[in-house]
Every structure is written in C-alpha cells, then in structure tokens.
C-alpha cells in the first residue's frame, strides 16, 4: 500500500461538491430512519444538493461478512450500484460505516484484481451497466469535518456543554488509505462536537467497537458482545457521558438496542442515548426534533431534549 493513509479534509474533498449521490443505507432508512432525514436536513442547510436513486440496492456487504455467501455477488452488487452513481457523474457519499467499508474494500479488490473487475462487469453487463471505478466513495462525516467552520457559523441551538462521548465505528477507521484519521487516536469527531457547542468526553473505551458487525450480535450476543459492550458503557458512564454519537446506523443498533439487556444482565442502568452525529448536528442547526425520528430509539432522548430546552414538536418521542 503506497497510498497515503490519513489525509487532511481539504485534500480528501478539495472542492465542496454542489451535488452528492447519497447512498441509501438499509439500517439508516429502516431501523433509524431519522438518520437519513437528518443528513438531508443538514445538507440542505449547507447548500449541498442530494441525489438519490431508487435503483440503488443494499451494498450487500453485511451478510457477506456474516459468511452467508461468497464475495462474487457482493462484487457484482457493488459494481452495479456504483455504475448507477457514475451515470450521474457524482461522488458517492455513504452514511453507514458498513456501506463505507464494504464499498471501499470491494472496489479496492476490483481495482487491484483485474480478473474480479472483469467478472463483476461481465455480470452487470447483462443488466446494461458498466462500472469504471471513477466515483470516489466518501462518508458524509468527511463533509461535516470539511465544513466544520460553516457548520459552527450556522449553529442556532448550541449544545450548552452537553457531554458527548463519540463512537467512531471500525469500518471507517480501519480503511487502508484516504481517510481522515486512523484507529491510532482519532479526534475529528471531537472537533465537530466542540464546533457545535458540546463538550467531548474522552472516555477510556471510546475506541471499543460496537460488537455487532459480522453478525456477532446474533450468534455471540451473550458470549462476547454483552461483556464487551458492558466495558464500553461502564467507562462512558464513569466519564460522565450524557449522550453517545455514532456515524453508523449499524453501530447505533448495537449500542442503543443492547442497553436494556445489559441493564438486566449486569443490574446496572446506563441509559446513555445513542444517536447519529448528523442528528446531533441537526439539533444544533435548529432542525425541529420531530424531523429527527428519535421515536425509533430504544434509550429515550427526553432527558437530552429537556436539557437543551428543545421543542418536542408534533410527533411523540
């Protein structure tokens, strides 16, 4: 790997795009639909136009890593989805670390193994597509960081020092090249939290993963995932974290949905709400709470909403 691993945001996204292709995430549109909506709201406030395409499917990476099927189908699906983006001449912006990791990993494999590129293109050619490898794959968090100052200037509801513990998510930090920060000691989420008026909390286990990827949340929930998450939440609670942010709806499932089970098993309540970073930015930019879909969260956000003095809006939480 001779390519640069960690690059500055200005190098990663030299020019802020007028339009982006937003890659739909299955979890982000079904389990936590507020995530997708929050991203649309923030992009709208930043003046970035969003293009989505109903022909785009799941990235198919999650079940691949669960060993449900072999890589061929995922290579073809990735090529097909990105061929759709390329037709629009746009760069791909994903908002799930899973989609990010799988799309990046699978395109990397195709670009470095001409035989796989050929195989994928042969298959999707039957459906009238051709993937050339032109579209860049970004995570929306890269754009948030690139536009940190613009976001800070647009804050209307500062977070009043809310103690936020961030969760980066592995499949972003583990990429081999062209990312904002690697798994060593990432801090760019904390910079964003500060820019919108929150107090980032560097809790001890903040780089511990959500434990839910490759299906371990289903097969090894009690054996490994719960003791693993218990460590994470215990350290977060001890450090005084009031709210946890993710940049991956998949991590959000692991961290949010598992908390009642942890409380039962370890007789210890954590009650740390977990939301997407985009939802928190939306709050700071004055997006009405009812547009953020917090009713999908297992750990309720009432405390946070009261603390920040936000209007609840019409929808129940």
């Amino acid at each position: 790997m001779n390519e640069q691993r960690v690059v500055a945001p200005e190098e990663l996204i030299p020019e802020v795009p007028e339009s982006i292709f937003l890659f739909r995430s299955c979890t982000g549109s079904m389990e936590y639909p507020g995530t997708e909506n929050a991203i649309k709201e923030v992009m709208n406030k930043l003046g970035v136009n969003i293009v989505m395409d109903p022909d785009q499917t799941c990235c198919s990476g999650y079940l691949l890593t669960c060993s449900a099927y072999k890589p061929e189908v995922s290579l073809a699906v990735t090529a097909r989805n990105l061929a759709i983006v390329e037709k629009q001449n746009l760069d791909t912006y994903v908002f799930c670390n899973g989609c990010y990791g799988y799309n990046r990993e699978l395109t990397h494999i195709m670009k470095h193994n001409p035989a796989y590129m050929q195989m994928a293109n042969d298959v999707i050619a039957k459906q009238g597509y051709k993937y050339e490898g032109k579209t860049e794959i970004h995570h929306v968090q890269e754009l948030w960081y690139r536009l940190k100052d613009e976001i800070a200037a647009k804050v209307v509801k500062p977070l009043q020092g809310l103690k936020v513990g961030v969760h980066y998510g592995c499949h972003y930090l583990a990429q081999q090249y062209h990312i904002l920060d690697d798994g060593g000691y990432p801090t760019f989420h904390e910079d964003i939290i500060e820019a919108i008026g929150g107090t980032p909390v560097f809790y001890k286990e903040r780089q511990l993963c959500c434990g839910y990827s490759v299906g371990r949340g289903i097969t090894h929930k009690e054996a490994t995932v719960q003791p693993h998450l218990y460590k994470k939440f215990k350290s977060a609670k001890e450090a005084g974290v009031e709210l946890m942010t993710t940049t991956c709806p998949g991590c959000n499932v692991g961290l949010d949905r598992e908390q009642p089970n942890l409380a039962k098993r370890y007789a210890e309540e954590f009650n740390i709400p977990v939301i997407d970073l985009s939802q928190l930015i939306s709050i700071a930019l004055g997006v009405p709470v009812r547009k953020l879909g917090f009713e999908a969260n297992t750990v309720p956000l009432d405390g946070i909403i009261n603390r920040l003095g936000l209007e609840r809006g019409e929808s129940s939480l």
Binding site: R24, L64, V123, C209
Partner: protein
C-alpha cells in the same frame, strides 16, 4: 518454526486459505503481536489469538483452527489491521478461514441465521427488512418524519439484485447451506496453549 529456514517449502502455503487472493502480504507478518494487543475479542477470550492463527496459516497448519470456536468470535472490527505495521488485512483472512470451516461442516450454526436473512434480502433489495409487524413500525416512523413509508427502492432494483444473486451462484450457495451434517466446534487453545490437535 523459524519460517526463513524452510522458506522454499512453505512459501505461498497460506494461499490454500487465501483462495480469493485478498490478503496479498501475509508472509510479511513480523509476529510482533500488535494485532493481539489491540483485539477486543482477545481481551475477553485470551485463547483467540490472531498472531497464532497467522503463524499456523503460514506454515500450512491453518486447518487446525477449522473446528475451533475461536474463529467465530472475531468481530471484524479490524483493530488488528489498523495497528499492523505491514498492513495485513487479517479480517479478510478470517473471512476465508470461516468459509473453509463451513466447507468442512464446522460452524454451520453460526451462519444458518444469515441464510434466512440473505434469502429475504434477495427479495427486498435491502438487508434486515423485518417481518410484517416490524414493517408497520418502520412505516409509522417514516410517515411521522414526512417521508415515504418505505425506503424508495424500485422494482427494477429488486429484480436486478435478485438476478445478481442467481447469476453469481449465491442463490444456489444459500439454498445448499444446511446444518444437517454439522460437526461440533470447541475451544482449541486455552491460556495460549493448544489443548487438542
């Protein structure tokens, strides 16, 4: 076993596991053990040891892990790859070690739940779309947000997604996945020592 000494005999042996040629540089492993130190699973289950697995796979002994419980514990967080001085993509090796285990009828219980999810995803074009009751909840949440009740995915997308499963052999693979001839997996190492061969 000092690998350098037997280099001509064992070079490239790991390709019997890395059949997709995804881990191009496993032989550059320095056995520094950073992967183990940064592994959240190893901290919970000390017998899960990425360095040991790499060492075994390199010397052509990777199959000793096939009937192990250990290989199914990896979270795929890639903490190992993040700290690896030589950028070895251990998760991609783990993926293929699991394929090899499954081919030998080990660990089928750990992939069976995903057969159902994958066959459903093949129809929906979306992964983890829940059953009818769960769908009602999604539709309600989405409607409350003022967006379409169901993610906007076209019939064409669904049909083509399904077709890609058929064209690449994934449908056949999924239909053939069964736990009928399942063989049990056990912990192979304890306190860093091999307890069964």
């Amino acid at each position: 076993m000092p690998r350098e000494k037997y280099k001509d005999k064992i070079e490239g042996l790991y390709k019997q596991v890395d059949t997709y040629n995804l881990v191009e540089n496993l032989e550059t492993c320095l056995a520094c053990g950073k992967c183990v130190g940064n592994c959240p699973v190893a901290s919970l289950n000390p017998s899960y040891n990425p360095r040991q697995i790499i060492s075994d796979v390199l010397s052509g002994d990777g199959d000793r892990w096939l009937d192990s419980e250990e290989i199914w514990r990896c979270f795929w967080c890639a903490g190992c790859a993040t700290v690896c001085p030589n950028d070895i993509q251990f998760p991609l090796l783990m993926m293929q070690l699991r394929y090899r285990a499954v081919e030998n009828n080990y660990g089928l219980k750990y992939i069976m739940p995903f057969k159902r999810f994958a066959l459903r995803a093949r129809e929906d074009g979306l992964t983890f779309a829940p059953s009818e009751k769960g769908r009602e909840k999604i539709k309600r949440y989405r409607s409350n947000l003022g967006v379409s009740p169901w993610p906007e995915i076209s019939d064409r997308a669904k049909a083509e997604y399904k077709e890609l499963f058929d064209l690449t052999g994934a449908t056949e693979y999924l239909n053939n996945t069964s736990d009928e001839s399942e063989k049990p997996v056990t912990f192979k190492y304890t306190e860093g020592r091999i307890i069964s061969e």
